[in-house]
Amino acid sequence: MAFADRFVSVPDLFPARLAGEHWGTAQVSLDFLGATYSMTGLTPGFQEAIEERFGDLVVAPDIETDKKAIEFKVFRSAREDFHHFDLAGWDVQFDFQYHSEHVKMAGYQLMGFLSLYPRLRVGLWTCSETKSDFILGFANLLRVASAYALLENGGVLIHSAALSDGYRSWLFPGHSGAGKSTLSRLAAHRGWEIYSDDLNAIVPTGKRVSVQQVPFAGDFGRERLEILPPRPLEFLCKLRQSEADAVAIMETGSTFALLVACAPFVNCDPFRIHRLEENLLALVEEVPGYVLDFSLDGQLQGLVELVEERDRRGWNETGSC
């Protein structure tokens, strides 16, 4: 099936640039992961939906900031531009088409366009009129846009759970079923902080890399978005649910491969794969990888011992051991 065929009535008419009829004149700006996103073309209802969903991130309009902001324009599409189908039991899916200078994204009642050069600009075409329908498509396109914005800034979005003891963070990349939510629940019982059990940002901060919260997904992340500051990433682990707790060093190639596989959207983009590799190379050079076998007995003994062992070897906030 060709790109967008399953979502869009006439894929050949998919937008090729950021132009069209805006839904309204309302606007709102969001600030997260070191970037400001300036959303325009909104109805008052869309604006309200964004403020309700991303309230912690809303910033007041500022002329100087807006000049550097990532433009995010919302356009009106006709209902007949899209195929409509029953969403019951449907897993949310998208089509992507990658080009040297832009990326197209199609989904249920949405068409997205990311213009990547000279700087990121985003367009969303939707026929959704209700707040609830609009915010779903909006959040999904914003997630993709943030993956590209991070990539450009040397970071990467990773499907992962991320934990912290209040001083440093640990990352557990993996797709659905890897054990991220289970691990997060066990960690919460221990009193550790959970950044998210689904999606986290890895961001270069000076000579180190840090974990930062993203405002999108996971059972743990959303309501604590304001609370957790970026914390230096001490190590990352591949999760394996097992009958016994154990930890083994993961080889660099395997660590790199795990991160590539868990870097959504950009890992399938043939025009940006070099950039992803460069960002991940900097990450694996800095952060050691382990394989963590963990049992469901609730003790996380292997992880606790790994943290203690690294503490004994002298890890501190300003440098790895």
Binding site: E251, A257, V260, I273, V284
Partner: protein
């Protein structure tokens, strides 16, 4: 027989090791140091017998064992669709 990477597969050396990336599927596979060296030589156009001869000089391993391990590794990659016969070669 000479082999090449499948069209949708990338290979990259990472700190003496390697990674294979199948981009269309967003999949990646870590490769240890010896495997990465074998892949590097394959990408450079060496045949499997040539690679075994070269590696015999690089690693302190009996040639027979090196040949068996290399053949097994290459067969696995062929089965995974990571490698394919070079144009003009037959499987």
């Amino acid at each position: 027989m000479k082999l090449v990477l499948a069209k949708d597969v990338r290979f990259r050396r990472i700190l003496q090791q390697g990674v294979l990336i199948r981009q269309a599927a967003g999949e990646a596979l870590g490769i240890n140091g010896v495997g990465a060296r074998i892949l590097q030589l394959l990408v450079e156009g060496r045949s499997v017998p040539e690679i075994v001869s070269l590696l015999t000089g690089e690693f302190d391993v009996e040639k027979r064992i090196l040949k068996e391990d290399t053949n097994r590794f290459v067969e696995e990659l062929l089965e995974l669709g990571v490698l394919e016969p070079a144009p003009g070669e037959t499987a």
